[in-house]
Symmetry: C2
Subunit: 357 residues, 2 copies
């Protein structure tokens, strides 16, 4: 698969984003939801911050304190053998697990899709018990004239998926937790199918240890049921360990014998080396719980330096793309550090699905 | 708390239940849903079976094979050091986790609530991918003239909660998976509150390791949202490790200053020694996501021999009770082996909530 990477990559870097608090630093800006609004491309960025730390013997992070209504700083001793810092994203202590940074969501706008103006302050910030460790990985679905934003809420009760909505990207309404813990990688289909809303989601079974893509249906986007398993990892493949939906699915036109239309979903998969790639799958247009095809190989792999090296290297991860001009215009987080832009041919992607033999 | 245990306990034992297949044995009958239907008490029993095994070097269990539409036998070598049999409920192998028995649901009826006639064959049996390891822990809620049965479906995709319904306990309709994995200990409130259905549920956060009670709402009993944390374990208490809803909640009349009415929920809690007890909590009648009170001590603990010894000892676990004649008539699984009956005073239980200082 031929990938065109923007020569401007990374198009958004941590130093482009103003911290939300005076004594904080932005360590990552990645995994952005994307949509078109009026004549602009709108990104909702995941911005990861932490308190500036000048002491080599401690680790500082921040959590949202619900009773105080603000971020507070937590300090962990590197010398304490009971604290585990082996995963750069986590601080595991006998008293509980913490994240090494706290994320919020931040708006960025662009006329050309490459050069973005980034808001100075958080757009959606931690506000309740489900978001004490931050807000992550937003997806934007335009449904009946309203932009629905679902994001991961990480809190001491677990990893949930929350819903918000806006019509103007100025005021946002929250709709609560729509998938209970642990569940992430939720994407809402942009239109109803036979009167029902659909979502892909990624629950976690702690007993059986799987991380697979499921599909659910809803009458109102807030309440979800008829959960069905859709698709799992493939042994000895690039997506052998875990998979999840990435971009919001969109309709494409096909030919016989595969039906007139289908839903194309760009998803992510992880291998045993924690390498994150993107693949594509095709769902039936009228029965989206049926997988018609799936790319054997990734359509997009970490290869550039900014994808291979960073806070968490060897990661390309997308929360959204624009399908325009027969191209997939993919906005993606690289190495959990920066936001980049790439284009793939829609035709090549469909060919990768091996639909036509 | 004074507990009256039936002198007939255990009221249902494994040897009272006919296996579903010729060469199988019933090893447990426990955790039954309960309701009144016409002039009878109806129990929906969890019946745990396994293939009869005459070889001391192997462990046999059964799983439901979806393509064959029947149970098939799986064999595991005790000598293989990679197989882990330390939890009597589980077989943990490098290729995956299995259960040592497979459960289905079986109807039992009684005029006096103590002596039951048990059906010869399974009433609801494994039938799909979400039930390959069995059906467990049914709860029955009578809502608007229909009996809704939710049960745990255990399959290779995880631990889900499924819904079925009946009007006559002869024909049953399935409504699919209503809570995605891992989620169990779901109880449906028997009536709507301000137009919405409510359920307590028990999701699992693998990252943060909690097992706590949540509440969700629904327009139709199938799709659930607005998930909210309700209540967690208490350190150094009888419910210090994990808790979950047990019986279907029911309305009780209170006095001032606690409102006219409230929802009484009998829940279960587990301590560090894997001892399962029952406690009670009171929820606001109009805002059931608000916990008004919770018993400090268990209302019911494993003390009798049949509660302390069995397949999994030191367990009293209820999936249902009848609140009649100012008594809680509790049907409960003892030691994951047998079904027993006990009565508690409703007044004493309310006193245990320390509502009135």
């Amino acid at each position: 698969m031929k990938v065109f990477r923007s020569p401007n990559n990374p198009i958004i870097k941590p130093e482009d984003v103003k911290p939300s608090m005076y004594d904080f630093e932005v360590i990552g800006v990645f995994n952005a939801g994307v949509t078109r609004f009026k004549d602009e491309v709108v990104l909702l960025l995941r911005v990861a911050e932490r308190p500036i730390n000048k002491h080599p013997d401690i680790v500082l992070t921040a959590i949202y304190d619900v009773s105080k209504g603000q971020l507070i700083i937590k300090e962990f001793s590197k010398g304490d053998p009971e604290n585990n810092f082996s995963d750069p994203r986590l601080i595991i202590t006998p008293k509980g697990t913490y994240l090494t940074s706290i994320s919020h969501l931040r708006l960025a706008r662009s006329k050309d899709g490459i050069n973005f103006e980034i808001e100075d302050a958080p757009t959606i910030r931690p506000a309740n018990d489900y978001e004490t460790f931050g807000l992550e990985d937003p997806r934007i679905s335009l449904i009946d004239g309203t932009y629905y934003i679902n994001y991961v809420g990480v809190g001491h009760f677990g990893v949930t998926t929350c819903l918000a909505s806006t019509k103007d990207f100025n005021t946002f309404e929250r709709h609560g937790v729509i998938f209970s813990p642990d569940n992430k990688d939720v994407v809402l289909f942009p239109e109803r199918v036979e009167g029902k809303y659909y979502a892909l989601h990624r629950p976690v079974s702690s007993l059986f240890g799987k991380q697979e893509i499921w599909i659910a249906e809803s009458p109102d986007l807030c309440c979800w049921g008829n959960h069905r398993y859709l698709m799992g990892p493939r042994p000895n493949c690039w997506d052998e360990i875990k998979i999840g939906a990435s971009a919001v699915p969109f309709k494409i036109v096909l030919g016989a014998p595969y039906g007139e239309q289908g839903w194309l979903e760009v998803y992510h998969g992880v291998d045993r080396n924690n390498r994150y790639c993107l693949g594509a799958l095709l769902l039936d247009s009228q029965e989206p719980w049926k997988v018609i095809a799936r790319t054997e190989k990734p359509i997009f792999e970490p290869e550039a330096d900014y994808e291979c090296n960073g806070f968490f290297g060897n990661v390309v991860f997308s929360c959204g793309l624009l399908c325009e001009d027969d191209k997939l215009k993919i906005y993606y987080g690289a190495a959990d550090t920066v936001i980049c832009y790439a284009e793939l041919s829609l035709e090549e992607t469909i060919k990768g699905l091996n639909l036509f033999g």
